[in-house]
């Protein structure tokens, strides 16, 4: 998915109008059609917001739903049962905190593993690798992004889980570590691609200047290049973070799906995405459980939007401060 934020040369277009004064109707229709179809993208985002929000709204407005669960109850604790997610129960419990904590735990593991690895690899490919090698390594790492997430989840379930249990001695075969490592497979290519592009975009003048002033390669890298590429690298981390919190199949297969609220990475955990995926099939349309699941989806969507926005601000600020590209 590197192409999504690849820096593209801006082709300056003059407003070259056709020499004909009268625009034929074909032109009009064509332009109208093109504009109209382009609106699909805006319409899609709006529709997603509207329809996911519409089905989530009853949790704020419907009295019938409030009999079973209120918006506040989503964030609260259920007395002696604690922060429990047990929608199918004598007393249905809808505490979503364990789910969000689960998402954060696996994301943390995924980023902790993939960011150092990917940025380091990006440094290697951009700075140290011979040109021929670069032409093979970069596509190869991007191929990792081409592996469907269900295959990564399958791999994590069958192979990674056993390996983690052997190396880390965990009690539970499926836990946050396994799910996090699995997620790293999906996050690495994203962070790598964009960081590598960012490093390559740093003008070579910076490198020459630093070396001319007598710095070693590591000093050049750490003091000059990385800071210059930091906006791009930060953007890649933000994208990686967004990818990780939104991923469904890997965590569904590899996290154990136990909605526990604790800080241990060696216990099974349950993410927001896996909860929606597991339970959406069984809800009766219009039941409180149905609306809560949509509310979860809406919250997740808002989170990713928020992450993107914050990321953009941070990157923008960095660009201004560093004066880099």
């Amino acid at each position: 998915m590197a192409s999504i934020t690849t820096s593209v040369p801006v082709v300056e277009r003059k407003q070259t109008r056709s020499l004909r004064r009268t625009t034929r109707w074909v032109e009009r229709v064509a332009e109208g059609l093109v504009v109209g179809v382009s609106l699909v993208s805006i319409a899609s985002v709006l529709l997603i917001l509207v329809f996911v929000g519409k089905e989530a709204l009853p949790i704020l407005t419907s009295a019938k739903v409030h009999q079973e669960v209120t918006f506040g109850a989503l964030f609260g604790s259920y007395g002696s049962a604690g922060y429990a997610w047990q929608p199918v129960s004598e007393v249905p419990k809808y505490s979503i905190l364990p789910l969000f904590v689960g998402t954060l735990k696996v994301t943390f593991v995924a980023l902790a593993v993939s960011v150092p690895l990917s940025v380091a690899a990006a440094v290697y490919v951009a700075e140290f690798a011979p040109r021929r090698l670069r032409e093979y390594v970069k596509p190869a790492i991007e191929l990792l992004a081409g592996i469907p997430s269900v295959v990564v989840g399958f791999f994590a379930l069958i192979v990674l889980a056993t390996w983690v249990q052997r190396v880390f001695g965990t009690e539970h075969r499926l836990n946050s570590l396994v799910a996090g490592f699995g997620l790293a497979f999906a996050v690495c290519p994203v962070v790598f691609s964009i960081s590598e592009d960012a490093l390559r975009s740093v003008p070579d003048a910076y490198r020459s200047a630093a070396l001319a002033l007598g710095s070693t390669r590591s000093q050049t890298l750490l003091r000059v290049l990385l800071p210059a590429a930091m906006p791009g690298i930060a953007a890649s981390i933000v994208l990686g973070f967004g990818r990780a919190i939104g991923e469904t199949m890997i965590v569904l297969l590899a996290s154990g799906n136990a909605a526990i609220l604790d800080a241990s990475l060696e216990h099974s955990t349950r993410t927001v995405t896996a909860t929606i995926a597991q339970e959406l099939g069984e809800v009766v349309v219009g039941s409180p459980h149905y609306h809560v699941l949509f509310a979860l989806g809406a919250l997740l969507f808002l989170c990713t939007l928020g992450v993107n926005l914050v990321g953009e601000r941070v990157v923008f600020g960095m660009r201004k401060r560093l004066g880099g590209r």
Partner: protein, 291 residues
Amino acid sequence: MTRTLGIALAVCLAACTRTEAPSTTGADGGTVTPDKTSITLKGSDTMVILGQRWAEDYMKKNPGVTIQVTGGGSGTGIAALINGTTDVCESSRPMKDVEKADVQSKRGAVVVETKVALDALAIYVNEKSPLQEISIPALRKIYLGETTNWKDVGGPSHAIVLYGRENNSGTYAYFKEHVLENKDFAAATQTLAGTSAVVNAVKGDVNGIGYGGIAYLEGIRALKVKKDDASPAVAPSLVTAQDGTYPISRFLYFYTAGQPTGTSKKFIDWTVSADGQKIIGDVGYYPLPKT
């Protein structure tokens, strides 16, 4: 120009749509679908293999009929019955009154229950586990999270790792009602998507414990179960399930909205006939007791 385009589109769409003859409402409020050649079975994962085998056999004997079987959990099947997206719901637990009322209000029909097979809910442990039997009160304590170490039930000193099903599973609901007395599972129970996932997990975990249908016993062991500490330990088998001495045996059900008619009726009747019941043994469950 737009009108012809619209008509052309509508014609194409119609040609590409699969429709069934419209159903009418029968005398008892059920839907009568005349000569439907394709029916859907949806629901219990416990029953999905059984449903599939039945479907395969029935389709072989009745070419021209297609039966579509999907899993997802008993809860999924019941939701589908309420939403109207399935003809027959497979369920490994009885439907609740609240759910029956939903069917009544949404589909205007009374739910009809057909018992089709018997299952003994097995308690899975790893083959290397030294445990041979367990009592229901002890099992309850384990799954409520009150007993957390194997040594409290006669095993080696090690934490117990709990494996269970998602909450849309009939097995989950049955276990909750009959073993946990409707209390909640311990939060640390890992929720797995199907019985085979539970089996796979217990197979790979010496300290694991799980539950599920007897037909899935492959590479693991089923514990003998005691109704309470004083009763004798009974192993799950055809005899003990049919005569009721195995304390956690249950029926497997087909549910329809209203009396089954047409193809659905023929299929369901066939499953409870001698031909259909014979297949159950091959799959690993138990045929209905002969009354």
